[in-house]
Amino acid sequence: MEFLTHDFIPYFILAVGYGIPILYGTLGGILAEKAGNINLGIEGMMLMGAAAGFLVSLSTENVIYGLLAAVLAGGFGALIYAFLTVSLKANQIVTGLALTIFGAGMTKFLLNLNKEVVRIPNSVQKSLKPILSDVLGIEGLEHSIFKIFDLSILVYLAFLIAIVLHFYLNHTRYGLNLRAVGENLAAADAAGINVNLYKYVHVVLGGALCGLGGAYLSMYYIPIKTEDVVHGNGWIAVALVIFVSWKPLRAIIGSLLFGALSLLGKSLQTGVSLSPYLLDMLPFIVTILVLIITSVQMSKENAQPRSCGLNFDREER
């Protein structure tokens, strides 16, 4: 019992918080890939969301405007990607990479325009803080399992979005249409689905989710000016999309696992005499293992949407 309350529960809670940006990124990636677009720009869109959320909540001191800016910034990045890949039929892989390069550059550029600022106002961060303990002042939650009800509002929003997406993809007509687009462009087109519209809408929505993930990092988790606040989380999300086999509910568990894993590296560092950098490799090594395992035992129902990477061209059916 001592172990449970003293070590495991706090660790579990930390892991949940750590995995949330990855969860947002993964959900965004799932939406895009269900529409048949591999978007490698998740890292870039998260960075753009992070920068926009940080800068806008800084100047307006309003958390809602900050979050809205992050959503718009992520969506804007995705819109560039959608315009290039859907309308102009550019290569999805290279366009996604370009988006990440652009997003990282823009973030650094915008954050460095104002040299004096180091952190966002406390009032903004406070409204994103745990509701029960920090806002209502309830004490004694630290080592109890009830702490799970006492996390940032953005954590629950992520869970909610995952559940909504699950129903959307599996139990609504739009969701089924979307999956048709992702599986077979020509068949979806023949069935009267507006393929390009579906692609645009879902790629952009996916980008907006990535933007929220970035905002979680820059406005709440690390509210200090940091150039690379996302730090590879977007890339892990790209891999996690595959790991959770394009299923939003599994993404919750997947992100929790990765959150726990990344923390494991950090918490082991105190006790073990290994180089800290060796432990930092852990999430990346596990990602590779995940990639290998999923590719070796790829079953039909857990496969990537079949039209992923292909651009729609009526002429070329």
Binding site: L40, I80, F83, L84, S87, L88, K89, A90, N91, I93, V94, T95, L97, A98, L99, I101, F102, G103, A104, G105, M106, T107, K108, F109, L110, L111, N112, L113, E227, G232, W235, V238, A239, I242, S275, Y277, L278, D280, M281, F284, I285, T287, I288, L291, I292, S295, V296, M298, E315
Partner: protein, 367 residues
């Protein structure tokens, strides 16, 4: 109601082709200027500092050529993989491993003369880089494992290996910080022209020229080069033609990652004096842009690399006029977006549908 329709072009003259590209670059500069104006900076001054100023201070041209050398070598390496549609975005890690390979050789043969040591270091960097790239290649060829993510994750692992070496096993005992002991003179790439002011220019430049010629010859004039292009176009065609796709993927990735490894050697023994975690410093990602902008034409790679080297050196000059140097990174992204978009106008022609005209003439005819 569509106002226009798309027609696929059968042929396009190279003049027209170039024209579209130039327009794309101009649009990129226009958009970049907008970005700068929006952030209350002077775009003309910014482009001057970015593109012209680097040539005006004494070490500028040398820095540019050194960077062009490294970017060219890395882009050539990536070019091999991209030609095969193997999305190797792990150049960053392959550079680091190549650098480690060169260091291993140099550290284990401290007394050897430069004539013998440098070729061995080159070989070491090639082998280490190639092995780092071979791992994702194997799983891609065998099980279809996603190579984009695999190679990318390998970057982070490589970076942490170098950080580990920096902080422990290879740490310079004389230094208070985590730095690795500098290489002795016999393990440094010599200058090409020691008597003229360009003395800082090292033989890495020569390596880049040789590799460019090799890459062009290999891809355009050898059977292996042809095979890798076929695998890139269609894996099933390659299989149907009886090609051993597994062997082709492995062979090409040895070359691709090995050449990126050589860039690591040029970085540690030529441009820097030792290995550090900043040895790759994002070059592996910039090279993805330069490779793509070259349209995988091996002779275009040095040209595009040269332009990007100017931007990379010039970006420090932005700080003097109060613009964060990262503006250059954003501009690079914008250029890539515009060029990616312009490919569409090279492949398709937009034809306006003049329905209204037809209608009017019909009405007039009836009257």
């Amino acid at each position: 109601m569509n106002l226009f329709r798309l027609v696929k072009r059968d042929t396009i003259t190279s003049m027209h082709h170039t024209f579209i590209r130039v327009i794309a670059i101009l649009i990129a500069f226009g958009l970049s200027s907008l970005l700068l104006v929006f952030t209350k900076s002077d775009p003309i001054q910014a482009f001057y500092n970015l593109l012209i100023e680097p040539f005006q201070y004494r070490s500028g041209p040398i820095e540019i050529i050194k960077l062009t050398t490294s970017l060219t070598v890395i882009s050539l390496g990536i070019g091999f993989a991209f030609k095969m549609k193997f999305w190797n975005i792990g150049a960053e890690g392959q550079i680091l491993l190549g650098a480690i390979g060169a260091m291993v050789v140099a550290r284990s043969l401290p007394t050897m003369s430069a004539v013998g040591l440098l070729p061995l270091m080159l070989l070491g960097s090639f082998v280490f880089g190639a092995l780092w790239g071979l791992l994702p290649a194997f799983f891609k060829a065998k099980f279809g494992t996603n190579e984009t993510l695999f190679t990318l994750m390998m970057n982070y692992i490589a970076l942490n290996i170098v950080k580990t070496l920096e902080s422990g096993p290879w740490k310079d005992p004389k230094s208070f910080q985590n730095t690795i002991t500098p290489l002795p003179d016999n393990a440094r790439i010599p200058s090409l022209f020691s008597e003229i002011p360009w003395s800082l220019l090292n033989a890495g430049f020569g390596i880049a020229i040789v590799l460019t010629a090799f890459a062009y010859y290999y891809i355009n004039h050898t059977k292996s080069g042809y095979e890798l292009s076929v695998v890139g176009e269609s894996e099933s065609t390659a299989r149907y033609a009886g090609m051993n796709v597994f062997a082709i993927v492995m062979r090409t990735m040895i070359i691709s990652a090995g050449i990126c490894g050589i860039a690591g050697f040029i970085q540690v023994a030529g441009n820097n004096s030792t290995l550090s975690s900043g040895v790759a410093g994002g070059l592996g990602f910039t090279a993805i842009i330069t490779t793509w902008l070259s349209k995988l034409n091996m002779f275009m790679i040095p040209v595009v690399s040269f332009i990007f080297a100017i931007i990379a050196i010039g970006k420090d000059g932005l700080i003097t006029i109060g613009i964060p140097s990262a503006a250059a990174d954003a501009i690079q992204g914008i250029i890539l977006f515009c060029v990616l978009g312009c490919e569409f106008f090279i492949r398709y022609k937009i034809v306006l549908i003049k329905k209204s005209d037809e209608f009017i003439s019909k009405v007039r005819g009836a009257a």
